[in-house]
Amino acid sequence: MSKQFSQSHLLGIKDITRKDIELVFETADNFKAIINRPIKKVPSLRDVTIANVFFENSTRTRISFELAQKRLSADIVNFSASSSSVSKGETLIDTVNNILAMKVDMVVMRHPAPGACMFLAKHVKASIINAGDGTHEHPTQAILDAYSIREKLKEVGGKKVVIVGDITHSRVALSNIYCLQKLGAEVMVCGPSTLIPKHIETLGVKVEHDLMKALQWCDVANMLRIQMERQDIKYFPSLREYSMLFGLDKAKLDRLNKEIVIMHPGPINRGVEITSDVADSKHSIILDQVENGVATRMAVLYLLAGKQD
């Protein structure tokens, strides 16, 4: 039978299958061709209205979703918590139900509380796309990261990927682990022991505290940002020490006897987890990740919108 996306929401990579991810990739290939044409727009979602509900700051993800929606000809409304009635004490369900009462078909939501999207999906009638829920998951980021690896190295299966930095506070790390493993890649996490969750080995990942050993092992290094806004206590003595031990610079790359692919989900703290010369080097695919973000999000929106009748 013909291929189908298995879920009617995208809440996390944990809920979807390898087939789903591959279907998103195939669909994204078509959209990537379209966004590189002189006319970058298709009329598929012309009768779909999408609300972008952001309870937390975002630049890349929000612009990327907005562009994806506009290139699919969807109508969009944007909502940010800071300028809304949330500050007057309205609950999440009430806020979203009010938006849905104005006939909205899909909701893209970012929220600081882990599980907020799952909660919402149970209580409102609309397709929900998780654009990051606290320290839980960020599925579209993981999809675009894996898509970028596939584009650069032809396939994801069998590749070795190390995720470096603040694993504890990172939703990108968790989604990436699920996504890469489902596609058959080996995953390692690397960082100071205070920033690596206990028992993370139960997810089937390797743990390494020595950056050089991790780099020597991997084909791809995904450098995460230190999430200062989520750290209520000090997890390491100083940023300078962190960057000496876990920051990626030219000298460390030169000491490797092979070439590796460098990724970063943004926003970059230049000079902390990655230096400028590495971020802008030919090994880095950071800007390809951003471009692929639009194509993969178009694919997710298209596949989910097509599920409804």
Binding site: S2, L23, N30, R37, P38, V42, P43, L72, Y302
Partner: protein
């Protein structure tokens, strides 16, 4: 269910040859004409026609592309089946060119309407013509007619016209499958 073959390999080759000569008669050396096959099922025919015309005219640089209409269809979110896109492959601008759209079966005309929409996103063609292998007459929902026809057939709404190619089935064949109800 009852299947009737209306074209088999030999007749099909003759029909394709005739269609190629009709195209050459109209478009000469194809210097300003591009052939575009419709994904997913029109491309087997369009590839054959492109290759055959190249053989006959001995010209190697006839513009050729494959167009996917998934994103332009008018039944997205109207049916239960998910529409999965196919590859789009047009590496030239259609601006001021004569375009020949090729598909296997013309039925309601809705795919062709979508194709015309999709095509204008690649520029403004000078002319657009339509070539189909099988024209199911008297079943159009839109005012669309072919310029070149392989074979015209009269069918009922619950009949199916199936075009098979060596590439996706065992042999080149065109059947009508009748559902008696």
């Amino acid at each position: 269910m009852n299947a009737r073959t209306i074209l088999e390999k030999k007749q099909l080759d003759i029909t394709i040859d005739r269609l190629c000569f009709e195209l050459i008669e109209k478009h000469g050396d194809f210097s300003n004409t591009a052939i575009i096959g419709l994904q997913p099922r029109g491309i087997f025919l369009s590839r054959k026609i492109h290759q055959r015309i190249a053989e006959i005219t001995k010209s190697t640089n006839i513009l050729y592309g494959e167009l996917d209409i998934s994103f332009y269809r008018d039944d997205f979110r109207r049916g239960n089946e998910q529409i999965i896109p196919s590859e789009m492959n047009i590496n030239f601008t259609v601006q001021d060119k004569n375009i020949v759209i090729i598909d296997d079966v013309l039925y309601t005309g809705r795919s062709i309407r979508s194709a015309l929409d999709a095509l204008t996103d690649f520029g403004r063609p000078k002319t657009v013509e339509l070539l189909v292998l099988v024209d199911r007459r008297y079943s159009r929902h839109l005012p669309i007619q072919p310029d070149y026809t392989g074979i015209a057939v009269d069918t009922r709404a619950n009949d199916k016209v199936k075009v098979e190619w060596k590439e996706n089935a065992k042999n080149d064949n065109v059947h009508i499958i009748t559902n008696q109800s």
